[in-house]
Symmetry: C2
Subunit: 140 residues, 2 copies
Amino acid sequence: MIDLVYIAILKANRLRPTTVRLAVLSVMSDYEDGTHFTIEKISDDLINRGVRKSIGSIYRTLKEFEDSGIVIRHQFDSIGTVYESNTGSDHDHTVCVVCGKIREFYKTEFDSLRKEVVSESKGRLIKHTQTLYVVCESCL
Amino acid sequence: MIDLVYIAILKANRLRPTTVRLAVLSVMSDYEDGTHFTIEKISDDLINRGVRKSIGSIYRTLKEFEDSGIVIRHQFDSIGTVYESNTGSDHDHTVCVVCGKIREFYKTEFDSLRKEVVSESKGRLIKHTQTLYVVCESCL
DNA sequence: GATAATAATGCAAATCATTAGCATTTAGAT
DNA sequence: ATCTAAATGCTAATGATTTGCATTATTATC
């Protein structure tokens, strides 16, 4: 059974492999890499699979996943809270203000600049967020 | 009377110079440049001046100011919604995850990189946000 | 300046997203 | 199979923000 992978992921994060957590991992695994999803989408997708889980438990689950580093949570202007699987890739986002499509981008140079900023202020960088709000090619 | 400046600002944005708007502009003008403030701080400061305005009106006023470009609204992780006067200066922020202090920084190079990203994707840049979550020098 | 038309305000109730309390169920260890 | 701790569902609570509406203040008109 495919669930073995999910069970392993959960165990690695000291989370019991319960039906809610397995179900959430399962719907997440159907998303393409780099997909950004909401709590509501998870809930809908579960319902579409005939799996009814309380919205409260989904919130709890996603928070646990976030704490464990299984997912990353983002807050975008006029879009709200979205999650993505944490693939470990370092990237920032563009958000199309017309269609709402979220895309990822990466440029090493940003990192060096950020390090400069932080070292100039003698602080320590914990994390960063950068989002470019754009009108994307297809919406232009 | 000092209010003439505020009245001019409001008129320039087609907003009637009402007591709430003038009072909010007035408390804002007491803040140092680059200060980030919450709705609650505005409300408290109004109360400290003996001016009692409903929290709902303050929300409405700040939204109008945001729409007019008089203020800029930010959402920071674990801090929430804060505003700053819009001085027209282009800058990003560092937020100390220990003390919560918000500071501004600016580096031209970021802009060129962002332009690269957007032009590579053939989109148009509308705005951006970048926040570095740090432990600041004094908290280290 | 008085007055009509329009916008702003206060207040309370409504909303939205998220969290928490608690009784019940499930997973893991013995 | 049994015990203990954790997870779940449910509902109520929360916090931030918005809205409806009756009242009041501003602006435009006479």
